[in-house]
Amino acid sequence: MLRPHHLTASVLAVLLAALLWALGTRHVIGDKPVPPLGRFFSPQEGFWCNATALAQQRPAELLLRGLSAPVQVVWDDVGVPHLFAQNDTDLYRAQGYIMATQRLWQMDFVARAAAGRVSEVVGAAAIDFDRGQRRKGMLIGAEASHAALMADPMMAPLLTAYADGVNQYIASLSHADLPLEYKLLDHRPEPWSPLRSALVQQYMVENLSGWDRDVEDTHARARLGAVLHELLYPARPPGVVPTVPTDSTWNFTAAPTPAPASYDPVKVLQRDGHRSDPTNGSNNWAVHGSRTANGHALLANDTHLGLNFPPIWFPVQLATPDHRVFGFTIPGACGVIIGHNEHAAFGVTNAPRDTRDWYHITWQDDRRLAYRDGDAWRPATIKVERIQVRDAADVVDSVRITHHGPVMYDEHFGDVPARAQLALRWMGHEPSLTQKALYLNNRVKSHADHVEALRYFSAPAQNWVFASTRGDISMRIQGTFPNKWPDQGRFILDGADPAHAWQGFIPFEHTATQVNPARGFVSSANQHSVDEGYPYWFYNAHLEYYRNRTINTTLSEERKWTVDDVQRLQHSGLDLRAREALTVLLPLVDQARLNAEGRSVYEQLERWDHHARHNGEEAALFQLWYDSLRVDLWEPLQQPPLAFGEPTPYNTNRILGDSTLRAQVEAALDVNVRAIVNNTFSALVNERKEQGVRTWGQVNNARVMHLARIPALSREALPVDGCGTAVNAQRGNHGPSQRFVVELSDPPKAWFQLPGGVNGNPGDIHYDDLLQEWLTPTYRPVLFLATAEERPATTQLTVLQP
């Protein structure tokens, strides 16, 4: 029988149901997504569960099915795991599992981003990004590499075991255990797979070879003519010493590709808007034992990438009865990339090399079903991409695939209105066994082993530095490189002309290598790889001109090198760019017309030792002045319909420092250099008067940002010296993403730094506990254990049981 209290109960039930719905659902308020608040605030499943206790006792045992024997995991003081397994399959199953416990959201998100599936999580804001990823063929490359790896009888079971390890961890998670980011963004981890490992690799290939200026150079060439274009955007300006110079003759017979007679850059218009950061780069070097204080070779490596939480790199020790290696891996990869084992140390910097070209496609008609290839019409494959978008309808995009590659830009994507049909030919689309190279390289005993391991290293092309306990040092510029004719792919190519297609690759045996050179060191910093003595054509649109010279000059000094020296060099804030620019610019300032304030700024810059100190003003003054000066100077090159981009600082300094070149540019571009120098200097002085003194730290804002760009999970205004062109290449949200120094004693001793921490959980003490050390040359010694049993008392042990 219905009573009054039942009516109250019904009203309450409706009210409660509405409340539970509101608290259990993600809302978008304005354009800000708000996580389901009930779930998020629940101390039994929400963010409070990620507040891990500081006196954290790691579990003594965990179950990992599929192991053939227990795997011991030693956690050191800063949370670095050291894995001891009885065989390779167990090792990588455990690596997958342990990696997931520390960095699950990161690896999941990176694989998702590589595949162009971010809109599923964040909504319509990422549609353009996702379309770009798919149109540039990220999945084409990842699937090709995946197929090659799974066809390899050695690698397939290892990658499968790794994925299984990740998946066992995912399967063990309740909502309460999920990483914080899943709760904030309200999504779930996806199962891992070898394909997703290939996607992570593809993400790195894109990061390190996803930049060119073919479109800009094509138009600049057409508008300015070859002479002025070469003056402003030279492929090889004077004064460059490459990573591997031609010391003597090369010990192979080269077969470079001759240029076709018909070659003429195609003049079409389309801006390439989807490029990775061209300043992704690094430093590495090795000093021969004959030049070190204790006779052991030294190896150093620091990689300049976006500075993120969680860091891109993950330090780990991996051991089986056959080998033990310590180093840095990327979540999603088996083994380590940069590191050392008992016999050798190895590291990488990006080898800038043009492995990405644009082909203009001539369609038969508006339906774009067939395109011209020589005298014939060739059918295009149409790939339909369906992009799921959170809180919105799916987006369907059809991508035309040609034999050159996918048509990234057309009337449906790119500039509006689109002005060109451009297909991307990219080494990133080729199958890559890079993962196998890493596996073999982790186990090298000699330089010969190292070279053999790199036989499988195709992309992203890297300058591999190597040093062994036997005393060998070497630099090898490894990747698979198209064998191009001079200027092939520097400009847009004609997709209809078969002579414009890639004509094969430079053989592995012709790789530029330097072993135990007379100067007693090898080094690389993303400068030109080789000089004109190398028999194959070399080109890249973005090259480094300053760090490499600072390193080489310092390494050439007469002294016996120590670990301390190497660490200090990694932290050098000397800005050679500022030194060379000021040498040219200050004499152009009309001192007679300076007021007291201007005089003081002038003298400050004149006295400066060109070290970019965060608490000093000079680097800020220089950077602000130089930026505005270059904008004004090169403004005539930035006109619609397509900006050509600014000439490099190196070339700017070269032109400004040479009165003949300066006059040539002044006449061609109708600019007055002296007036620009003086006007921008006055503006700088006035700005300083109005806004007050700003330190380099304030202007640079060195910061480590969370991968999802959440400021509350990031660290800003870090007190760091250095700048983009210093060895300590710290520039805003970009810089040394790890530092590593190895002394090749027996066994090797190593030291490292990481801008963040091992654990990806913002509630964990190891989220950012290594950041403080990274700010200065305070290095942490690597714990390189022979067995789990010899672990220090401060470590903890977890045994993974089958």
Partner: protein, 114 residues
């Protein structure tokens, strides 16, 4: 006394169910508590509110203390609030779920007839 029993029952049942079921289980636990204890609507509301708030606020404070506030400082920054406000929001959501759930349970069973 009945108020105290309500508070304890809501908190205890909420704690147990919360480790098995999602966040809404607190309202469910409070409803069961209301049906069992039948404290009357006002005592149900107040008892459920206090029980739910104490449970969620208490667990949050416990986790926060063990973590020395590392995470709560970051989340507070994210929401543009203070850590205290964060804990108050947590307690408030717990309180509302407990209070409403408990009244609902009490009203489903109706007033005591003895």
């Amino acid at each position: 006394m009945r108020m105290l029993i309500t508070i304890v029952t809501v908190a205890a049942l909420g704690a147990v169910l919360g480790y098995i079921l999602p966040f809404w289980s607190l309202a469910f636990a409070a409803a069961i508590a209301g049906m069992l204890v039948r404290p009357g609507p006002w005592r149900a509301l107040m008892g459920g509110l206090v029980g739910g708030a104490m449970l969620w606020g208490g667990l949050a404070a416990w986790a926060d203390a063990a973590n020395t506030g590392i995470l709560s400082a970051r989340i507070a920054d994210l929401f543009g609030a203070s850590v205290t406000v964060l804990k108050l929001i947590t307690a408030a959501i717990g309180g509302v779920l407990g209070g409403l759930g408990c009244v609902l349970g009490d009203r489903l069973r109706g007033p005591r007839t003895n």
